[in-house]
């Protein structure tokens, strides 16, 4: 349990500093970092209990939804919120392991890890796409 809480704190700090490098507006920082930690928790829970790809999907969906909602609330572009918050979920580890297997001349595991990394990125992309299409629908209904 303490491990999970510590991980969430690390995730919070990492995305906070990441948002600071990207010069995110000051009042959005806490929102994004909390969304990032909760999204990461959802991703961890789903990928350990159910399925890794599903974890990427669920985590990204949460982050993107929070981003769209905060964008409405603050009247700021949604990317400002989504981009720093989604960074902890991006499969950097998968990319690195693929490369490591390639360097070690272990082609079969490179293909295996590489394919699952691409699948995970695709899951993130689909999650983001679904949420942004829904957000567009919401927007056009409000405009009418």
């Amino acid at each position: 349990m303490t491990d999970i809480i510590l991980d969430l704190i690390y995730c919070f700090a990492a995305s906070l500093f990441f948002a600071l490098i990207m010069n995110a507006p000051g009042k959005t920082l806490i929102h994004t970092s909390i969304a990032a930690s909760v999204g990461y928790a959802i991703y961890m829970a789903c990928s350990t209990q159910l399925n890794t790809t599903l974890g990427f999907f669920a985590g990204t969906t949460f982050v993107a939804m929070m981003g769209e909602l905060s964008a409405r609330k603050f009247k700021m572009p949604a990317t400002t919120f989504i981009f720093p918050a989604v960074v902890p979920i991006v499969p950097g580890l998968g990319l690195y392991q693929t490369m490591l297997a390639l360097v070690q001349n272990d082609i079969s595991s490179a293909l295996e890890i590489g394919a699952s990394t691409i699948l995970n990125i695709a899951a993130m992309a689909i999650a983001m796409a679904i949420v942004s299409v829904l957000a567009l629908k919401m927007k056009s209904r409000n405009a009418n």
């Binding site: 572009p77 960074v87 990319l95 360097v103």
Partner: protein, 257 residues
């Protein structure tokens, strides 16, 4: 009031330029152009924006066309600037600022550097360090990643003026990260270089390019979507190549087993 087409075009150009240069979606640039022009009752507005440049044609009375082409060479990420342009376009459409005032503000935004150099490299280091502990690093890994992140950020700032900025900065970042991580874990005989490398790679991965590629493609901006996806692929693969070269050399020399 007579509309000054010259300053309208300059305002529109500068706002689109700031949005694209600082990592906004291209549809946001197009919509900002449309939004500002509509509030000045321009009859015809056509704009095409891509990550490498944009074209605008406006016709105020329906007869004469004014066209503007702008090439974009340098792209960084600065969310604050996108937000500021958003605010200015909103205020312009409410006519609470005049075109000349908006132009002045936009020029200020485009010139200003928001984050001090020392803070930006410090934040980069801290972000890498926290990602490292998130992936299972301990105290030694934390401080190594902090140091590595600072060095990488300082070095890639040096490459900013180069034309092939993305390729060089990513490949050199990869090389530096792998070098420092492997050297320190080898000589201290402690720690795991994998955690350090993954933690330091995380902030450099092309998350924004990927996000924007998806958002642009969903909107139907296929050219921008493909351009962003290419950018993301280039950055990710050159990062991996940089790290891979060093790890391969370490295996060959026999430092890693």
């Amino acid at each position: 009031m007579e509309l000054n087409i010259g300053s309208l075009l300059r305002v529109v150009k500068l706002s689109a330029q700031i949005i694209i240069e600082n990592g906004g979606e291209t549809y946001r640039a197009e919509e900002t152009i449309k939004f500002i022009c509509k509030s000045f009752k321009v009859q015809d507005i056509e704009s095409i924006a891509t990550p490498t440049g944009f074209y605008i044609t406006i016709s105020v009375n329906g007869d004469d066309n004014n066209t503007l082409v702008k090439r974009i060479r340098k792209r960084t990420i600065n969310l604050q600037k996108i937000n500021d342009v958003n605010n200015i376009s909103r205020r312009l459409s409410e006519h609470s600022v005049t075109l000349d005032e908006a132009l002045e503000e936009l020029e200020g935004i485009s010139k200003r550097t928001d984050l001090k150099y020392k803070y930006s490299i410090l934040y980069a280091g801290l972000s890498s360090a926290f990602f490292t502990v998130l992936f299972g690093g301990e105290v030694l890994e934390f401080f190594t990643a902090l140091f590595t992140g600072i060095i990488v950020s300082a070095v890639s700032k040096r490459f900013e003026k180069l034309d092939s900025y993305y390729f060089f900065s990513s490949i050199f970042s990869g090389i530096i990260i792998a070098c420092i991580a492997i050297t320190i874990t080898f000589f201290s005989k402690m720690g795991n270089y994998n955690h350090i490398i993954v933690g330091c790679i995380m902030p450099l991965l092309p998350g924004l390019a990927m996000t924007n590629a998806i958002r642009d493609t969903i909107r139907g901006d296929l050219i921008s979507g493909i351009a962003r996806a290419t950018e993301a692929l280039l950055v990710a693969s050159s990062l991996a190549a940089g790290v891979g070269v060093i790890i391969y050399m370490a295996y060959t020399i026999g430092i890693l087993l």
